[in-house]
C-alpha cells in the first residue's frame, strides 16, 4: 500500500445474533466493556476453575448498564483449559446480552473455540505484527468472518517512535489484506496507549500515531484506555480527558471499564461535540433515562 494522506475512512461491522454495531470515524464512539476478565481477580479465578461461571453474569450486567456497546471476554485463568472455558463463557454471555463480543485471548485454541461458539460477527483480540501470530490467527479471522484488533509491535519491542508503529501497521494491513483476503475495514489497529506516568511524551506519541493511521490507512482504532492513567492519582479524570482528545486524533473505540460514569459521559459529550451524535439525540436520550432512573429511585 502506498502512502495515502486522505485514505477513505472505513467502517467495521460487528454483530451478535440480533444486534449490529458499526465502528467508524463518523459514528458514535464504540465502548468495548473490558471487565469480563479474571486477570488479577483471585476469587473469580477460583470460581472459574471450579466451573462456576455465575460471576460473569454480574460483570456483563455492570458493563452493559455502564454503556458498553461491545463486550470483551477474556478467560485467561492460569492452569485451566482456556478454550473450553472461553467457549462456555461466550455461549453464556450471548444468553445474557445482545451486545456483540470481542473475543480476547492469546491462546490460539481458545480463540478458535470462542469463534466457533459465537453467534454473529466477532472482534478478535488480538494480533501483533509478529509473523507467527499473524499466521496463526488471521486464517481464523477469515474462516469465521470476524474483525481483528492488531497491535503494531513486534517480537523485539513496543516501539516508542511513531514511524516504527506506522511501518508495523502498514505491514499488518498488507499481510492481512493481500495474504489472507481480510478487508482493511475489518482490521482495528491499537496504536498502543502507554502510561503517561512513565513518560510525559507518551500520549503525544500515541496521538500522533493515531492521526497518521487515520489519514494514511483510514482504518478504525481502539486502545486499552485505562493504561494511560496507570500509576497516577485521579485516574477517571485522566481517562475522561484522554479519550475525547484521542477521538479528535482518530480513535474510534476503546477497551475500557464502563463502570466509570465520568469517562463514559466525557466520551458521550465528545460524540456530541464532534458531530457524531446528530441533533444530540443520544445525549438527550441518556439525560431522560437518567431522570427516569432517579424518579424511580425516589418513588
Amino acid at each position: 500500500m502506498s502512502a495515502q494522506f486522505n485514505a477513505p475512512r472505513l467502517e467495521t461491522v460487528l454483530r451478535s445474533a440480533t444486534q449490529q454495531v458499526v465502528i467508524g470515524h463518523g459514528n458514535r464512539f464504540c465502548l468495548i466493556g473490558e471487565r469480563i476478565n479474571p486477570t488479577g481477580r483471585r476469587i473469580f479465578q477460583e470460581q472459574l476453575r471450579a466451573g462456576d461461571l455465575s460471576a460473569i453474569e454480574r460483570d456483563v450486567r455492570a458493563q452493559v448498564e455502564g454503556g458498553a456497546d461491545v463486550l470483551d471476554i477474556n478467560m485467561g485463568v492460569p492452569l485451566t483449559d482456556e478454550a473450553e472455558l472461553l467457549a462456555k463463557a461466550i455461549t453464556m454471555v450471548q444468553t445474557l446480552s445482545d451486545k456483540p463480543i470481542c473475543i480476547d485471548s492469546s491462546v490460539i485454541d481458545a480463540l478458535e473455540a470462542g469463534l466457533a461458539a459465537y453467534q454473529g460477527r466477532a472482534l478478535v483480540n488480538s494480533i501483533t505484527a509478529e509473523d507467527e501470530r499473524m499466521e496463526q490467527v488471521l486464517p481464523l479471522v477469515k474462516k469465521y468472518d470476524a474483525a481483528v484488533i492488531a497491535l503494531p509491535n513486534d517480537a523485539d519491542e513496543i516501539p516508542m517512535e511513531v514511524e516504527k508503529r506506522i511501518t508495523l501497521t502498514r505491514k499488518i494491513i498488507e499481510v492481512a489484506t493481500k495474504e489472507y483476503g481480510i478487508a482493511a475495514a475489518d482490521i482495528v489497529i491499537d496504536p498502543l496507549a502507554m502510561p503517561i506516568g512513565a513518560d510525559s511524551e507518551m500520549v503525544n506519541t500515541t496521538m500522533e500515531t493515531m492521526r497518521r493511521i487515520r489519514d494514511e490507512f483510514g482504518v478504525n482504532m481502539t486502545c486499552g484506555a485505562s493504561n494511560v492513567s496507570f500509576g497516577m492519582p485521579g485516574r477517571p479524570t485522566i481517562g475522561a480527558a484522554f479519550l475525547p482528545m484521542a477521538m479528535t486524533a482518530g480513535l474510534t473505540s476503546a477497551i475500557m471499564d464502563t463502570r466509570t460514569p465520568q469517562i463514559v459521559e466525557a466520551v458521550k459529550a465528545a460524540d456530541l461535540l464532534l458531530g457524531h451524535d446528530e441533533w444530540g439525540g443520544a445525549w438527550i436520550a441518556a439525560h431522560r433515562a437518567r431522570l427516569a432512573r432517579e424518579a424511580a429511585a425516589t418513588a
Binding site: 485467561g76 517480537a155 519491542e157 513496543i158
Partner: protein
C-alpha cells in the same frame, strides 16, 4: 557545606527526583573527601527506601518513583567505580528479565530502580528473554536471585518453562527464583515452584532481602 548538609541534601533532593542537584551534591561530597559508601548508605539508599514506603502507602506515584530512581542512577554512575575500587560489597546480585513472548518492561524497570536503590547490583536482560538466555546469564553472572517478569496471562507459563530450563541445566538450587507481574499471584508463583513473589516494586525489595537472608542463614558463605 558540611558533610551533614551534603547527606541531608542528597536525601531531600533524591526524594524529589532533582537529578542535577543530586549529581552536584555527590561530587561536592567527594571533594570534601566523604566516603562513597557514606553517600550511598547514609543518604541515597535511605531516600529511595522512603520513596518506596511512600509509594506503598499511596502517597507517591509512578512518575515520582521514576525520577527519584533516575536521580539516584546519576549519582551511582559517579559512585559505582569508586565503590568497586574500595571493595564495597553490594547486598546481592539480582538478574532480571521479562519472559519470552512478552515485551512489557515498565513494571520491571521500576523494580530494578528500587532494587538498585536498596543496594542490589541489578543485571537487566531486558524483554523477550528466552529460557536458555536466562540459563546462560545465570551461569555467567552467578546472581543470588533471578527475577522473571510477565505481564500477560499467556506469557506467565514461561515461568514454568524457565524453571524447567534451570532444572535441566542443574542450576535450579544455585539461585533464588522470584516471579512477578500484573497477572501473577502468590498461588501461581507457588504452582510454578518459584521461591518468592511480590505484588509491587517496593515489596519486591523486602521479599528479595528476606529470601537472601534465609538463604545465607542456611548456606554459610
Amino acid at each position: 557545606m558540611t558533610p551533614e548538609e551534603i547527606l541531608q541534601g542528597l536525601y531531600d533532593e533524591t526524594l524529589v527526583g532533582n537529578a542535577p542537584r543530586v549529581l552536584e551534591l555527590t561530587n561536592e561530597g567527594l571533594v570534601l573527601n566523604m566516603e562513597p559508601q557514606t553517600l550511598l548508605f547514609d543518604a541515597l539508599i535511605p531516600s529511595l527506601e522512603e520513596v518506596g514506603a511512600r509509594f506503598e502507602r499511596g502517597d507517591f506515584f509512578v512518575p515520582e518513583m521514576l525520577i527519584a530512581g533516575r536521580a539516584m542512577s546519576g549519582a551511582m554512575e559517579v559512585l559505582r567505580p569508586l565503590l568497586a575500587e574500595t571493595g564495597v560489597q553490594t547486598i546481592g546480585k539480582f538478574l532480571m528479565g521479562t519472559v519470552k513472548g512478552d515485551v512489557h518492561d515498565i513494571g520491571k524497570n521500576l523494580v530494578n530502580i528500587m532494587l538498585e536503590g536498596a543496594g542490589f547490583e541489578v543485571i537487566d536482560l531486558g524483554v523477550q528473554v528466552a529460557p536458555e538466555k536466562f540459563v546462560a546469564a545465570i551461569e555467567e553472572h552467578q546472581p543470588d536471585i533471578v527475577g522473571f517478569s510477565a505481564f500477560l496471562t499467556t506469557t506467565m507459563p514461561m515461568f514454568k518453562a524457565n524453571m524447567n530450563a534451570l532444572e535441566k541445566a542443574g542450576i535450579r538450587n544455585s539461585v533464588i527464583v522470584m516471579v512477578g507481574g500484573a497477572p501473577v499471584t502468590q498461588e501461581y508463583a507457588d504452582a510454578v515452584g518459584a521461591d518468592g513473589y511480590a505484588a509491587d516494586a517496593s515489596q519486591t525489595v523486602k521479599r528479595a532481602k528476606s529470601l537472601l537472608q534465609e538463604r545465607r542463614a542456611k548456606v554459610p558463605a
